[in-house]
Symmetry: C2
């Protein structure tokens, strides 16, 4: 079996979703922690792995490397049950993967970084970021009103990619109680992936 | 043969790249112009096609719709020579497609919109947007120094997706003369797609 090394940061949803996918599929994967807050993703050694200076990076045993979280997901899961067999369902899954990186991550994950890691207060932040994040959660809510999963009535990469930052959206000041279908779906996907419920953990902690 | 309708705006690289891909592959596709500057992508009729309110949208003859430009590209080109056969090459192509939407389009296309369509002057704009756009062009320059195309020494969707806003980057105040490998690659991809050279056109016009 091919073995992989995954360079990532333990608080990054982009990195964790690749780890969860690999574990769900029973792949042989080794985690290498990169301290992005200490500039380790801008070191010469890291830039040799990924000139764009971003985590995650997947390294194959032959040394070839792959960046971009959702490209890593589709590569790891190729031919598995996490990718629908029907070509249009597969295309819809890709639609959500691209939407996640364009409209969800740059608002919800970015606001979380500012509040949780840069200790910025909500009223110091760009209000547009909050508005756009809520709009993204609203798009998800509409999609999930009559569905258990984003595509093809099954767990796919779209759910794994989207749950990564949605489950910790409260750390960016978003209230998932406003989006009940999203909230139920988060628990459903966390269960399927064997993850603890992030919001419970937050309340306990 | 399946026929498609493509809802888009004629100045949007995200929309044009889907049209170019369909034409390159000889698919039966009909263009429907959506005037995004007059709010037509926020109308009830359009939101029924794509609740996210974004162009492009691909509509199949059975009425099913697909959004997100690069998801449309991968769907239209499935099984064609625009997607490499080797699974790792395919993954690298996906890496560039995700990178394009995350690091290239939000800087280069956004600055072009502000300058060309909102008549903003360069010194009124966020300097970060210019810095990030130049960094994206620098990443492309490094990749293309020893390559004719982004992946697998052949024209793939990665080139089509990336050329869309790179060929008109001058309209966003970027100078491609600083990135000679990118500049040659733009001409190469424009030739392969049968497009006029955008920069020549700009100079003539």
């Amino acid at each position: 079996m091919t073995s992989f090394r995954l360079y990532g940061h333990h608080e990054s949803g982009n990195c964790l979703k690749a780890l969860w996918t690999a574990r769900y599929l029973g792949l042989d994967i080794e985690w290498v922690e990169v301290d992005i807050f200490k500039g380790e993703s801008r070191s010469a050694a890291f830039l040799a792995l990924n000139p764009a200076g971003q985590v995650p990076v997947l390294e194959r045993s032959d040394g070839r490397t792959l960046a971009q979280s959702n490209a890593i997901l589709t590569y790891l899961a190729e031919g598995s049950e996490l990718i629908p067999e029907d070509s249009f369902d597969r295309a819809k899954m890709m639609e959500w993967l691209f939407w996640e990186q364009y409209s969800h991550e740059p608002t919800i994950a970015v606001r979380r970084i500012q509040m949780k890691f840069h200790a910025r207060r909500a009223d110091d932040l760009d209000p547009e970021l909050y508005a756009k994040g809520r709009r993204a959660l609203g798009v998800m809510e509409m999609r999930l009103l009559a569905r258990d999963f984003f595509v093809a009535e099954q767990l796919t990469l779209a759910d794994i990619a989207l749950v990564a930052y949605t489950r910790v959206a409260h750390e960016g000041g978003f209230d998932l109680a406003e989006f009940p279908a999203v909230q139920s779906w988060v628990r459903r996907v966390e269960s399927a992936l064997g993850l603890p419920h992030a919001a419970d953990h937050a309340m306990a902690g």
